[in-house]
């Protein structure tokens, strides 16, 4: 009945500060990566533009889909603790091929997300500075670039200093910016709402309910949730990871869903209200006379939220690279940890400059901030959707392998996978030429990388999916007492 277990005395991911991060820090990681503050200010407008009064339905559908994905992720998060997050999970169900695909998707997703946050902070922050100083587009661009450099350095230092510090910083920033934006939204509702009864998906509002529009609105709604899984990469560092990480992931998805639904309700009730308040999305050349307290507060909240998101996304990205390096798939240097702070410091210094440079070069080349931002968001979202799809496919196979499969998980996995495939297909069909070229390029690089790695580092690929295994010290009476 019993097998003789092979226990190591040292975890393969040793070097990180093991089992020390408390639940609030884990929660902060997921919340900050999702950046609900920034998303609740901007995304409802996009969704309303697509779905009209059906925007609430788009968000509801996206929330249900995210719930299904979260259920698949927690199947793993309750059973294993890894630094690589989703790709380490996928390895347990789909083997090296799935794990490699998921790792590429995560690196693209999180890497692009870092660039998105830099671009977003530069766009909103630059515009805000230009408005406050009454300056021109050139001033906005200059301030934006300066902001990116400052943000990149700050993020890198915080990420090296450790996830505990990072967690505290992120939680405060996110709470303050959500608060700011809620205050602004509620104030807008109170000042604008009284004449117009809210047509909450009920009754024939202007345009009524448009099923096609609702479907199109699901994608931007889904994009607002990406990153809710990022706590999974703190598996090694979290205290009681099998409890705190699943909880952080589900709670983040739930909190974000509620915030988005509330924000959408408010913005449906006050047509044009939020559009007036956020400067960059309105596209109107603002003068100092237009400056209202609400828009300034909201922009500060959004920039802060982007900052916290940058830090959180870097945290996850470097842990994915760290884990890949420990497996031998990525260069070993990326697996080195800081002697005192016990963080993947080398990976931080190597990765952070890349997205910062992308944004700085884009701005310097005169590309409109909205174009940079939109393009990066699209690629990042596709990366995340691909990673989610792979982890959903992997969940039932993993459970079958360890003999714990239940019918519920199969149903959840099938529903989630089908919905994700449908979403990805819709995105690709409607994609612009630029996005298609980018995707094709990434696909070629990814597949090419696979063949190169298989030739050069075959054994490392086979060994993908290292996680924080139970060691002799964790088992009662197995090790020295």
């Amino acid at each position: 009945m019993t097998r003789i277990p092979v226990l190591r005395s040292r975890s393969p991911v040793a070097g990180l500060r093991r089992r020390s991060l408390r639940p609030p820090g884990v929660f902060a990681q997921s919340v900050a990566t999702t950046a609900p503050a920034g998303a609740m200010a901007s995304t409802p407008l996009l969704v309303i533009a697509a779905a009209g009064n059906g925007a609430l339905w788009s968000f509801a559908i996206a929330a249900v889909l995210v719930g299904l994905v979260a259920a698949c992720i927690t199947v793993f998060a309750r059973r294993m603790a890894a630094a690589g997050g989703l790709y380490s999970f996928t390895a347990q169900g789909l083997g090296p091929g799935g794990a490699y695909a998921c790792a590429v998707a995560m690196v693209v997703g999180y890497g692009m997300l870092v660039a998105v946050t830099f671009a977003g902070a530069s766009w909103y922050g630059g515009a805000l500075v230009a408005r406050l100083a009454g300056g021109s587009d050139a001033l906005a661009a200059g301030a934006g670039v300066a902001l990116v450099v400052v943000l990149a350095v700050t993020v890198a230092v915080c990420a090296v200093r450790g996830v505990r510090l990072a967690g505290r910083v992120m939680l405060v920033i996110e709470a303050v910016s959500i608060g700011l934006i809620l205050v602004v939204l509620v104030a807008l509702a109170l000042t604008t709402a009284p004449g117009t009864p809210a047509p909450v998906g009920a009754g024939p509002g202007p345009g009524g309910l448009d099923l096609g529009g609702i479907a199109v609105g699901v994608l931007p709604a889904l994009a607002a949730f990406i990153g809710f899984d990022s706590a999974a990469s703190l598996g090694v560092e979290a205290r009681r990871p099998f409890a705190s990480i699943p909880r952080a992931i589900t709670a983040t998805a739930a909190v974000a869903a509620v915030l988005y639904l509330v924000a959408t309700l408010v913005q449906l009730a006050t047509p044009g209200g939020a559009g007036r308040a956020t400067s960059p999305t309105s596209g109107v050349p603002a003068t100092v006379g237009d400056l209202s307290w609400a828009s300034v507060l909201m922009d500060i909240g959004i920039v802060a939220s982007f900052g916290a998101c940058a830090l959180a996304a870097v945290n996850t990205l470097v842990r994915v690279l760290f884990s890949l390096a420990r497996e031998g798939v990525a260069p070993a240097a990326l697996g080195r940890t800081h002697r005192r702070h016990l963080t993947p410091a080398v990976a931080v210094w190597v990765t952070v400059p890349v997205p910062a440079a992308v944004v700085v070069v884009g701005t310097a080349a005169g590309v409109a901030p909205a174009t940079v931002f939109g393009g990066l968001v699209a690629v990042a979202t596709l990366g995340f959707l691909a990673a989610y799809l792979l982890v959903c496919l992997a969940a039932p196979r993993f459970l079958a392998r360890i003999g714990e499969l239940t019918g519920g998980v199969v149903v959840v996995s099938v529903l989630a996978s089908a919905a994700l495939v449908a979403t990805v297909v819709v995105v690709v069909v409607h994609a612009s030429t630029g996005l298609l070229i980018t995707l094709a390029g990434l696909l070629v690089v990814g597949v090419g990388g696979w063949f190169v790695l298989r030739r050069r580092r075959g054994p490392a690929l086979q060994g993908m999916g290292v996680y924080d295994e139970t060691t002799t010290a964790d088992v009662l009476a197995a090790g020295p007492r």
Partner: protein, 243 residues
């Protein structure tokens, strides 16, 4: 997020305890299916309870992720009455012959202290009392420095000299980690102080025990270079005997 415990799920509690017993009886590597079959608990329920027990660290999953074993936390339910091996007691006896202060050997089990060889002539403070205020005693500071963390709640002021400022304690812990010596003068009992050094496992350098000398606070404050050297020598001798 957690609702107050209503105690209305006796069957779940009973099943969880049965599962713990089953893992203990079946041995390392038993799978969820085997547990479910042996106890006739529906599979889905078994999996949920197993995940709960793993989350709370009463059970662990083995590296194949399918097998289970009892976790270290189980040890808290039935604390082992630890006694030092005869060889270790000999070392302690020799140490006591050379110093006039109380010499105590304390083993660490996670965050608990177990006196494995307390000085019979100088009865030590209660182990739980020491573990409750780790910031104010040498043995506790060794443990805090090892895990690089501060206690959760506010730091209790046990005597006028107790360090209760978190930053001050933090820098004291950095010193402990650097020198391997924790010194405390009149912070736990106004009149007493102690010198404590770590006993580390020879292989991985894990902190397994602390060796402490307790004496009058003003005397502990002196440099005591020779005494500390003596303490370190004996700790090194104890290491292979305890780990």
């Amino acid at each position: 997020m957690t609702s107050p415990i209503s105690g209305r799920q006796p069957q779940a509690v009973r099943s969880a305890l049965l599962i713990l017993e089953e893992v203990a009886a079946a041995g390392v590597g038993v799978t969820a299916k085997e547990i479910s079959a042996a106890l006739r608990i529906p599979p889905a329920t078994t999996y949920r309870l197993l995940n709960l027990l793993v989350a709370e660290e009463y059970l662990v999953r083995l590296p194949d992720l399918g097998g289970f074993a009892l976790g270290r936390r189980i040890a808290n339910l039935a604390p082992a009455a630890l006694s030092a091996p005869t060889a270790a007691r000999d070392v302690m006896r020799r140490l006591r012959e050379r110093v006039r202060w109380g010499a105590h050997l304390v083993a660490y089990d996670r965050h608990r202290f177990l006196f494995v060889d307390p000085d019979p002539d100088h009865p030590p403070t209660d182990a739980d009392e020491l573990a409750r205020h780790p910031h104010a005693n040498g043995l506790g500071r060794l443990l805090l420095a090892e895990h690089d963390e501060l206690p959760d709640g506010p730091l209790a002021r046990l005597t006028p000299r107790t360090v209760v400022d978190r930053d001050e304690l933090k820098s004291a812990l950095v010193d402990v980690a650097r020198t391997g010596l924790a010194r405390q003068c009149g912070e736990f009992h106004a009149a007493l102080g102690c010198l404590a050094v770590a006993v580390r496992a020879p292989g991985d350098g894990r902190l397994v025990a602390g060796l402490a000398l307790t004496g009058p606070a003003d005397r502990v404050a002196a440099p005591n270079t020779e005494l500390i050297e003596l303490l370190r020598e004996h700790a090194a001798e104890l290491a292979p005997l305890l780990a």
